[in-house]
């Protein structure tokens, strides 16, 4: 088994990566601006939906039900998809998925593939695998195209090029599309991308997509998008391959009613996504005449086994938790070292890798709780972060200085007498560092505090001492 999430296993710790991002003023400005805009739109779209909380409850109930009976629904999906003329492939890990996809494209002698809406292919590292097999992947989602042309990495699960502004994109297009002239308006940039992509849509015979939902009863897939490039990618090629994580299953077509109301509003603040493509198998004379689904596990069944972490798989990838997250707002997505950034990435990425990598991610949160509040499927992300933190500590992943400090504190908190002794000890220990009641420099781990903030010294008398003295006075 080679479960992997892109190159997350080799990524630096969140703190290290974030430090680099914080120094990039342009990136921070772009991320702040973009998340502020989407946040406001989402708040408006959610505010006008009277039954928002009920929708959230319904979505969560459907997802909980599916996750408890995932085996049944996956087999139902397979049967229905085959009956509709589709072919189903099962992939235990990233390599199996990539191999299956390469084989399908090769069997058609393809040297190019047009791609849309498949974050999961970033998870499996599909593009490098395709290139190694002599197949050129062409990203057709506008933001993914920007990322591909710039040899960049996605920084957001819905808006992958969120960290880029118009001026940067214009320069990139002029260079990579070899355009001597290009206007500065968004329409000009979209026009350039349209001309570049249309030619490829008509030329390339194999398309590759992801899916937002896989409907068990009919074997259908559903992709939602804003541009129409997805629709082209899903309907123009002769052969279509869809890479789908096994958690994307919903039982019935009717369940889409709940999810499509939640997804558009949560992701982009739209009442409905402009393009909603739903297809089942193949239809003679209409659309792709050969259709494959690759169902991917890649660590998901491991996440499923624990009741505490299982809700992670309920995620519908709307990105609302990224947009609301104060930490993401400062760092952008690259600091998370994974295609899955932000709060959901902080719980999903390490879990897919069985907690063997990306152990710093569960700590990349202030536990402010904003992510839980906006999550359309009510994933209690802070609670899962805490569960994962506990796992990291139990497996010995915490730094020694921290473990010692926590042990010292735990002993002090055993009873009031011990706490009073510890307070006295700290008062003595702090002496060399206190200047006029304030501490401006501390050693070791604590230097991370004093690097940016002063610390008021521990006062001569604790509350408990004051109280004891007061009680004594009253007795006399």
């Amino acid at each position: 088994m080679s479960v992997r999430v892109g190159k997350a296993a080799e990524a630096p710790t969140f703190a290290q990566a974030a430090r680099g991002m914080l120094g990039n003023a342009q990136l921070r400005h772009n991320v702040r601006h973009a998340t502020d805009v989407i946040r406001a739109r989402r708040a408006h779209a959610v505010g006008e939906t009277a039954d928002w909380q009920q929708l959230r409850d319904s979505a969560r109930a459907i997802k909980d039900h599916v996750l408890r009976h995932l085996d049944t629904y996956l087999e139902q999906f397979e049967t229905a998809c085959k009956a509709a003329g589709g072919k189903v492939h099962w992939a235990r890990d990233a390599d199996e998925a990539n191999t299956a996809i390469v084989d399908i494209i090769r069997s058609h002698g393809g040297t190019e593939v047009i791609k849309v809406k498949t974050m999961t292919s970033d998870e499996t590292g599909l593009n490098p695998a395709l290139e190694a097999a002599g197949i050129t992947p062409i990203e057709t989602d506008l933001a993914d195209l920007i990322i591909q042309l710039g040899a960049d990495k996605p920084s957001h699960i819905v808006v992958p090029a969120l960290h880029r502004n118009k001026a940067e994109i214009r320069r990139l297009f002029m260079e990579k599309m070899q355009l001597p002239e290009l206007g500065e308006r968004a329409e000009d940039l979209a026009g350039a991308a349209r001309r570049y992509l249309r030619e490829r849509f008509l030329r390339v015979p194999v398309g590759l997509s992801g899916a937002n939902f896989a409907i068990a009863e009919s074997g259908s897939l559903c992709v939602v998008e804003s541009e129409g490039n997805g629709r082209m990618c899903l309907s123009l090629p002769k052969v279509l391959v869809s890479l789908v994580g096994i958690e994307k299953i919903i039982p019935t077509f009717g369940d889409l009613e709940v999810f499509l109301q939640l997804l558009g509003r949560s992701a982009t603040g739209e009442r409905m996504n402009p393009y909603n493509s739903i297809w089942s198998g193949v239809t003679a004379g209409d659309g792709p005449q050969e259709f494959h689904v690759v169902l991917l596990d890649n660590g998901r069944t491991g996440v499923l086994t624990e009741p505490e972490t299982r809700p992670t798989l309920a995620c519908i990838r709307c990105g609302a938790c990224l947009n609301i997250c104060p930490v993401y707002r400062q760092t952008g997505g690259h600091a998370y070292g994974s295609i899955y950034a932000g709060p959901i990435g902080a719980i999903l990425t390490p879990q897919l890798q069985s907690m063997k990598h990306s152990q710093s991610l569960p700590f990349a949160s202030t536990l402010c709780g904003a992510c839980y509040e906006v999550c359309p499927v009510k994933i209690d992300i802070p609670e899962i972060l805490l569960h994962l933190r506990n796992k990291v500590v139990k497996s010995g992943g915490a730094p020694l200085a921290e473990r010692l400090a926590m042990r010292f504190a735990a002993r002090a908190f055993k009873n009031g007498g011990r706490l009073e002794s510890a307070q006295k000890l700290v008062r003595i220990a702090q002496k060399p560092y206190v200047h006029s009641g304030s501490i401006e420099r501390l050693p070791g781990m604590l230097a991370n505090w004093t690097q940016f903030r002063d610390l008021a010294a521990v006062p001569a008398e604790s509350f408990r001492q004051w109280w004891a003295a007061r009680q004594n006075k009253e007795k006399k």
Binding site: A364, S365, R389, A456, R464, W466
Partner: protein, 246 residues
């Protein structure tokens, strides 16, 4: 009424003035205050950093110390959130079902300081005087954990001489996050820098909140920048009188 004070470990150690202020307010309103010397910590720091086994011991100690208390007053929204959100879960994971029953019996008697004044004691006007311009940092745990909402503002509005100025982007985290401020110091500082900018923009003399943990963080930066803005726990403002100003 008889109020038993859970002062919290960091108020006890670092911010005794807040505890004294809570005592002053409650006694001025005619209540009796008790402070069990055996108390220590609710376990929040350990629990949130991943040391949940240690936190469980602290919960057990808390339950023992406050078992007979009629009303437990806690001048920290985050400690109250810790108890309400995590005590039941920790208890549920323990073999002894009695712990769960103890937690269920205990929690309705636990009040955050503002909740106690507004909901239980019905004393929005604490008789305070504080002739200064004040802004309020709404801590994450007061917004989302305990949902204290408008109560701090109600209390501030009743203070004589106080001029309140709203903090822009009040729902934004200050970046403290307990050990997050140490483990992810750079990101924490970036969040803090936004918060400090918002506070300075208000021209307030004092920034208040219902948690000294956030205030220690914000105040640490204001002090480092020599910004000349004071951080004061809400209780200290409510205790302030013209005779004994905060």
């Amino acid at each position: 009424m008889n109020v038993t004070l859970f002062i919290t470990c960091y108020n006890d150690t670092l911010f005794p003035a807040t505890g004294k202020a809570v005592v002053a307010v409650l006694e001025r309103l005619g209540h009796t205050v008790d402070f069990p010397q055996a108390q220590t910590c609710c376990g929040q720091m350990h629990y949130n950093t991943g040391y949940q086994n240690d936190a469980r011991h602290m919960m057990m100690h808390f339950l023992k110390v406050f078992r007979d208390a009629e009303i437990v007053c806690v001048p920290s929204a985050s400690c109250v959130a810790m108890m309400r959100e995590h005590f039941p879960k920790m208890a549920a994971a323990m073999p002894d079902a009695a712990v769960g029953r103890d937690v269920t019996a205990m929690l309705p008697r636990v009040y955050e300081f503002c909740e106690l004044l507004v909901d239980k004691l019905r004393s929005v006007d604490t008789g305070a005087t504080f002739p200064h311009t004040v802004t309020l940092h709404s801590t994450c745990h007061s917004l989302r954990g305990t949902k204290i909402g408008e109560r701090p503002l109600q209390l501030l509005r009743a203070v004589r001489g106080l001029s309140y100025v709203e903090l822009p982007q009040a729902d934004q985290c200050c970046g403290f996050g307990g050990t997050f401020s140490i483990k992810n110091a750079d990101v924490s500082a970036a969040l803090l820098s936004d918060k400090v900018r918002a506070i300075l923009d208000t021209q307030a003399e004092v920034c208040t909140a219902v948690d000294n943990s956030c205030l220690m963080h914000i105040g640490g930066a204001l002090s480092r920048q020599r910004a000349g803005v004071r951080c004061l726990h809400l209780a200290e403002i409510l205790a302030s009188t013209s005779g004994e100003p905060a």
